[in-house]
């Protein structure tokens, strides 16, 4: 087994007396989708914040490709190869689809300090952006203003922007959120193929999607990982059944 692409080691984060993240050690390996599930308030958002760099842990560490990034800024983590998507689409709504994707390409290029030349006239950036849009199937909508996209298309664009970074690992915060059954199926099919490009740490509420996609699942409850295993192991795990899935699952 090769080294994990993304890993956390004994992460701790408390808010007052509440241990929102309690000794969490997980890893993400090459080619896999590792899903993190847990009931509301289990600490998923806190864990995401610690991995993205929006929150600083009380103790423990985060590693990306064997390098510690525990104290690195959000921007630095992006350059180091972490591509994230947001639960609620954080897109520039007044800009076009292409402009949103070019922003990602611009970030990846690390050269935003150009004040004169037209950014959409830069074939390197637009090429990279268009490749990502084609991959998610939004190339035909490149000139649509983001505000006019459907909810499902916004989710796709959200993924496309992360793709322009050519990340080493994806961190996806509920990519299925708000998608209908059909949209959910499309997105599931898409993420299925994406894992070959870079592994995905998937935080998701949609159990059908999780069971269809995940190579491994970790269950978070009261800030702790109570179980990690394959889909079948998690389905039958007694603690998980009581904590999350309910007795009928």
């Amino acid at each position: 087994m090769s080294d994990p692409v993304l890993a956390t080691r004994n992460l701790m984060k408390s808010f007052g007396a509440l241990k929102a993240t309690n000794d969490v050690t997980i890893d993400l390996r090459v080619g896999e989708i590792h899903a993190i599930i847990g009931p509301n308030g289990a600490g998923k958002s806190t864990l995401i914040g610690l991995i993205t760099g929006n929150l600083a842990p009380d103790s423990g560490a985060v590693d990306l490709q064997g390098r510690e990034i525990t104290r690195a800024s959000v921007e630095h983590r992006a350059h180091a190869g972490l591509g994230r998507t947001f639960q609620i689409s954080a897109l520039a709504m007044e800009d076009t689809v292409l402009e949103n994707a070019v922003l990602g390409a611009l970030g990846a290029s690390g050269r935003p300090w150009r004040f004169w030349r037209s950014v959409l006239g830069d074939p390197d950036l637009t090429g990279r952006a268009m490749a990502a849009l084609e991959q998610v199937g939004l190339a035909d909508h490149r000139n649509t203003v983001c505000r006019e996209l459907s909810h499902g298309q916004r989710r796709q664009l959200e993924v496309a922007v992360a793709l322009t970074l050519e990340p080493k690992a994806f961190l996806m915060d509920e990519p299925m959120a708000g998608l209908g059954a059909e949209g959910s199926t499309t997105m599931t099919g898409f993420l299925d193929g994406l894992r070959a490009q870079a592994p995905i740490l998937l935080v998701e509420h949609d159990m059908d999607a999780v069971f269809a996609l995940a190579d491994r699942i970790s269950v978070l409850d009261y800030g702790r990982i109570i179980a990690t295993g394959t889909v079948d192991e998690i389905r039958t795990h007694p603690d998980v059944r009581s904590a999350y899935l309910g007795e009928d699952a």
Partner: protein, 327 residues
């Protein structure tokens, strides 16, 4: 609905036709009014970079307008009194040369904008407005207490500063100079907005979290925008002082900062020609309504209210039928 491009050219054409017509009809005061509109427009084009693209609602841009004004006033004062400016070990001779004054005004404004920006761009909303307002008041009261340069009475400069090859005392020539600078600033604004920096700045206004996630620092984008913005408004301040041949603390007043915002909102926030249309309207209303009633601000307020309530995109938004960026 009219395409924005056509509106832009129509505005530029009007801005040329009116003063030229006034020249032919021998109405120098109209040329002076047009010059005032061009200078205010230039100041607002500067603010539009921070406000319209970057979403920084600065209620302290009069700081840069005033700094530009005093850069002109102080340099010209030392030139007309033949007394060099002593800054510790440094001795600086005054000057009556516009290019030197302009560069000084822009450098000083950029430096102060950098300092104010460092302390303020991480705040948003009402806190940013309050911090920039506070800086504005600091400069206002400092200029009042600075008796060496006239204090509350301001500073008169008897002869307008010179520009190589021009007689700046001829109204149409001074207008041409101001209008040329306005056009350059508009060109810079257009290029900047379409550039890599413009894209990132525009996104920093709309979704800073996203900008961070792609590996860029939205605060640094805003800081640089604030510096460029301040420099352009500073240049306008130097021209404004030269137009009036007078500088006073009023140039630092928060009312002036407010007026700059108002004329951008009237024209269209974030639009290339928004500040130009706004400044044109403002000067026309001030002159025309001001001739009818002393309480013309009430009517200006009513017009502004109408624009804000019924069309978020200002005059350009109304004409093109497209809403402008949200700040």
């Amino acid at each position: 609905m009219i395409a924005e491009r056509h509106i832009n050219w129509a505005v530029i054409a009007l801005f040329l036709i009116i003063p030229i017509g006034a020249l032919l009809l021998d109405e120098p005061f109209t040329i002076t009014l047009a010059t005032k509109a061009a200078v205010l427009a230039l100041a607002a084009v500067g603010l539009n970079i921070a406000l319209g693209i970057g979403g920084l609602v600065s209620l302290g841009h009069a700081v840069f307008f005033g700094l530009g004004g005093y850069a002109m006033g102080i340099l010209a004062f030392h030139a007309q009194t033949y007394s060099p400016l002593e800054l510790g070990p440094l001795t600086i001779a005054g000057t009556k040369s516009m290019p030197v004054i302009w560069i000084t005004a822009m450098l000083v404004s950029a430096l102060i904008a950098w300092i104010i920006g460092l302390l303020s761009v991480r705040t948003t909303g009402v806190y940013f407005i309050m911090i920039t307002l506070a800086f504005g008041q600091m400069f206002f009261y400092f200029s009042i207490s600075c008796s060496a340069y006239g204090g509350e009475d301001g500073l008169s400069i008897y002869v307008r500063n010179g520009f190589p090859g021009l007689n700046t005392l001829v109204p149409i020539q001074f207008f041409g100079l101001c209008f040329a600078l306005l056009c350059i600033a508009l060109f810079i604004f257009a290029r900047l907005r379409a550039s890599a920096f413009g894209l990132a700045l525009n996104a920093s206004r709309q979704t800073p979290a996203r900008v961070q996630t792609v590996g860029l620092n939205p605060l640094r984008m805003k800081l640089v925008a604030f510096v460029i913005s301040g420099a352009i408004t500073g240049l306008a301040g130097a021209l404004f002082a030269d137009l009036n041949r007078f500088v006073s603390p009023v140039m630092f007043s928060w009312q002036l900062s407010g007026e700059l915002i108002i004329l951008i909102i009237m024209g269209g926030v974030g639009r290339l020609m928004g500040p130009v249309i706004g400044a044109g309207l403002f000067v026309i209303l001030e002159h025309w309504l001001g001739g009818l009633t002393d309480y013309w601000h009430v009517w200006l307020g009513a017009i502004l209210l109408g624009i804000v309530l019924f069309g978020r995109g200002g005059v350009i938004g109304f004409l093109t039928g497209k809403e402008g960026p949200h700040v």
